[in-house]
Amino acid sequence: MNYDDETLMAYADGELDAVQRAEIAAAADADPELARRVEKHRALRAQVAGAFANVLDQPLPARLLSAANGDTVAVNDARAPRGGKILRFPSSGTRAPGPGWGLREWGAMAASVVLGVLIAWPLFAPSDQGLMVARNGALVARGVLANALDKQLASDQRREEPVQIGVTFRARDGGYCRSFTLRGTKTAGLACRAGGEWQVAATGVADIPAGQVQQAAAALPAAILSAIETRRAGDALDAAGEENARLGGWDR
């Protein structure tokens, strides 16, 4: 049986039904020339796909994250009832010179870093795993979570760490708060410094669409975003600010 090139192309592209596939596979077994033609289609497909595959692993430029969140398109005003406004920090003031990332960018970036390892999504129960304990009506970070909040810098953390730190900022009461995500779960949270400990102010489940596990950069859950918005006194700390805060033991 003679197959035209478009049929072989569709075969290589996985477009044919099971019967046609079986037919061609059998014919190619018996006909080296046919097998070679199929292989050429497959090789070209692999070569073209391979040439651009690395783009998926590159970090997303901040300008695209802003555009994707609708921040670069004129919206009515700062009080527009959009989620995107939650994390837009005022650029006025004399703090932190240099390229200031808003919380939104940090959040998106932190989430995208974590996503590569998200496979199963057990719903996180705060009492599990010894990460948090309830005391005097507050949840206090323990174990690896407390350790990460104490020591880890968002600007310098390994993907393999069980806890990924997102954004660090000063709360209105002067204390520090840090957002975090727990690797291997969809859980994100916000912890704030109080009485020499990290109190977990909010946890939430990140909404990551099915089928986008490998590539999606999800935003922080709404519960965390609003917890941040309620507390923050200014911009997210940059790498130097974060490190200084750590050196100072997170004291206000």
Partner: protein, 174 residues
């Protein structure tokens, strides 16, 4: 529960890596590609009211990318009176073993394809869409898509053959 707008933002962010890859396969360099993604995403926000709940945001976004790219090309041609990319330039000699050179070769070969074929190749071979999905993005019948795909492939195979065909069973570079 997030608002609809918030959700659109999150989903567009989720699409960004693929939009960048698609744009990269259409443009000659990453900077132009990111410009394309940015203008398409901004366009999407301006028209986000058209998007119905439950609509296929991915197909819609890729459709906007296609339109933005075609508009850019037309504008660039008007400005510079650039001829249609039909004439083939000379390929600098490159080693087939070099991954960057291979990347460059594919990019170079893609840039010589007529727009219609380049879009078909980008959606199916680079983005891995089914013929049905790609035809929907391009708003053409599947038969038209397959013939563009076949012609584009033939041109690419010929262009890339210069370098790659000599090592026939060479397998794919990691």
């Amino acid at each position: 529960m997030t608002t609809a707008t918030e959700e659109i933002g999150e989903r567009i962010v989720g699409l960004l890596p693929r939009l960048r890859r698609f744009a990269r396969s259409l443009s000659r360099n990453q900077h132009d590609a990111d410009d394309l993604v940015q203008s398409a995403v901004e366009r999407a926000w301006k028209h986000s009211a058209q998007l119905r709940p439950g609509a296929n945001l991915g197909a819609w976004m890729f459709g906007i990318m296609r339109n933005a790219w075609l508009d850019n090309l037309r504008a660039a041609r008007r400005r510079a009176e650039v001829p249609l990319p039909e004439d083939s330039g000379s390929h600098p000699s490159v080693s087939p073993a070099d991954t960057d050179a291979q990347r460059w070769s594919v990019s170079e070969a893609m840039s010589k394809l007529p727009e219609d074929q380049r879009l078909a190749i980008a959606l199916v071979l680079v983005e891995g869409m089914s013929y049905k999905e790609a035809a929907a993005v391009l708003e053409i019948p599947i038969g038209t898509l397959t013939s563009r795909l076949a012609r584009g492939r033939a041109v690419l195979a010929a262009a890339l053959c210069d370098e790659a065909c000599s090592n026939k069973e060479g397998g794919d570079p990691a």
